[in-house]
Symmetry: C2
Subunit: 336 residues, 2 copies
């Protein structure tokens, strides 16, 4: 530990005096997104906040990916329609673009493909793509928005999810203190936080948590050096590949705004960043961080909190005469 | 009917040529609200969107009083924590200030008193005032907001509900087409809509639905001339007064933005404005409106939709080490 700390301290001293060169770091700053089709983004925002995409008419994308709270629900696993208990922790929608894949097990290649999932998942929004299209298509006020976004009024599931994805692509959080430091503002983070960053690098976290998002770029086994104990039954990538060796392999979560996206891990079992850092050190790196080291890394991680997107709540058009009725207490339809 | 229509038509002609005098109408326009304590309003907005006020950590005031959808959830009755089935239709939070009382049975005198209700109602947010205060008081980032709003950091239920009420007081919807007409813009509503207004007045609706909100000023029996049939078991004011004659007496709902606040009545049984107008004519006035008359009144009612408040979604501070854990699947606590 003394050695590591010393190395980190030396790094820190160097960092404070000369770390203005971006190229030296394995992290890129988050940059604002250029919006090419504002009408598509606006439609996507409406659909992201649209409770009528759920069978009950209560839950929207924003229910579990709440933009008031870091793009997550801060629950261990999410609540679905009919108060269903979700199987896994909701990842943040912030900076979700530009990952190797979506979902913990990577089963969606794109944000649009991801957005299609929860709508039809019986444990989430519990609707179907057919019903979602019927509902949105029956709301007269959406027609002009689809026309502006796509050129005509046609509603289909591809357009719905493309629009949501285009909105999500704008949900970036630039100007985190760490990004300011990356861009040359040596005073943007403290010596203590910088020590945490050096330790984060030197002790191996950055092997997986790198790139602009500090993660989201690879799949790794949870429990690389020591088995991770959990009561959560999710099998990770194995559920997709069917291969035994993929059990407990998950997409490496990104760490942007990680201060806001508690509780941590696919099972939501780590309530605090301190706990998450210590467990990661233990099961992924075979390392027991001291309390001081843990505090340093946590301090660094908190410098990754960026400016949250400024969202003006969309006003949704009222249902029309053909809109199916919502009855949240109708018998739950069979799982598809 | 012919007579009524003729009378309305004559009124319409007069209206189009000379109805620029505000004083002549028993309705006042909705005016923007002057914000005296912006910090209190901002805190109130945060708390209005705060899911940690519910026991599960999922539901906020905005879940049932959704500002994307006219300040309501557009459900027959609302969904509470643990998917509880609410007993009554959620009234809109828009323009909710300035009514004789709050709730359908008037059991709260003020908006602040109203806001305290759902937090502790087992069928709504299912928390307690003690737990709500503990939760909000344990979130470090709220301290500065309470200090700015109230002068010091103390958190209590009175301050929580005062802040929510102050935010709600700003949720007004000015510049409805009808208000523009009231202010002298004769072209703001069509002849057909004006006929509807004249009929609304001449046939007695305005005896109860008057004032700036076209309602919210008195309690009336639902079924004044003919019993209203419903399977909903809510007894109205009787539940408060204990007096048999108050059974089925409710606060007259306001009609601002009524186009958006479907379904209608305390039981949410009227899915459309057409149905609501016809049932009201029948059970309150002993009148059978023709389809044409109904269409006129509905057209008038749609001129009451104002500019929806422009709400920038608040960013909520993360929980602290002392914040109680949320477990939406813990056994439901006993009803209080």
């Amino acid at each position: 530990m003394t050695k590591t700390l010393l190395a980190a301290a030396v790094g820190a001293v160097i960092g404070l005096s000369s770390f203005s060169a971006l190229a030296a770091e394995p992290v890129d700053p988050i940059e604002p997104v250029e919006v090419k089709n504002p009408a598509l983004v606006e439609l996507g925002k409406m659909l992201f906040f649209e409770p009528r995409l759920s069978r009950s008419g209560l839950l929207s994308c924003n229910s579990c990916h709440n933009l008031s709270t870091g793009g997550v629900d801060n629950l261990k696993t999410s609540i679905g329609d009919y108060w269903a208990q979700g199987p896994i922790n909701s990842p943040t929608v912030l900076n979700s673009y530009g990952q190797i894949a979506q979902f913990w097990n990577g089963r969606a290649k794109t944000l649009a493909e991801q957005a299609a999932g929860p709508i039809a998942n019986p444990l989430e929004m519990a609707s179907t793509h057919e019903l979602a299209v019927q509902v949105i298509g029956s709301i007269p006020g959406y027609a002009e928005h689809f026309k502006k976004a796509f050129g005509d009024e046609k509603v289909d599931i591809g357009r719905i999810t493309d629009a949501i994805a285009e909105f999500e692509r704008t949900l970036v959080t630039p100007n985190a203190r760490f990004d300011k430091w990356l861009k040359g503002d040596a005073k943007a983070i403290t010596d203590f936080e910088l020590k945490g960053y050096q330790l984060f690098k030197s002790s191996g976290c950055m092997i997986c948590h790198n790139g602009a998002l500090l993660g989201g770029q690879s799949f790794q086994k949870m429990g690389a050096v020591r088995a991770y104990e959990t009561t959560n039954t999710d099998e990770g990538v194995k559920a997709i590949s069917g291969r035994d060796q993929d059990r407990m392999t998950f997409k490496v979560p990104q760490l942007r705004n990680v201060e806001l996206t508690y509780p941590y891990f696919h099972d939501g079992e780590a309530k605090t960043l301190e706990k998450a850092v210590q467990v990661m050190g233990d099961v992924q790196l075979g390392k027991r961080y001291t309390d001081e080291e843990t505090a340093q890394i946590v301090a660094f991680l908190k410098t990754l909190t960026g400016e949250q997107p400024k969202i003006v709540l969309p006003i949704l058009p009222p249902s029309g005469p053909e809109t199916p009725e919502f009855n949240p207490w109708a018998p739950k339809p069979d799982a598809k």
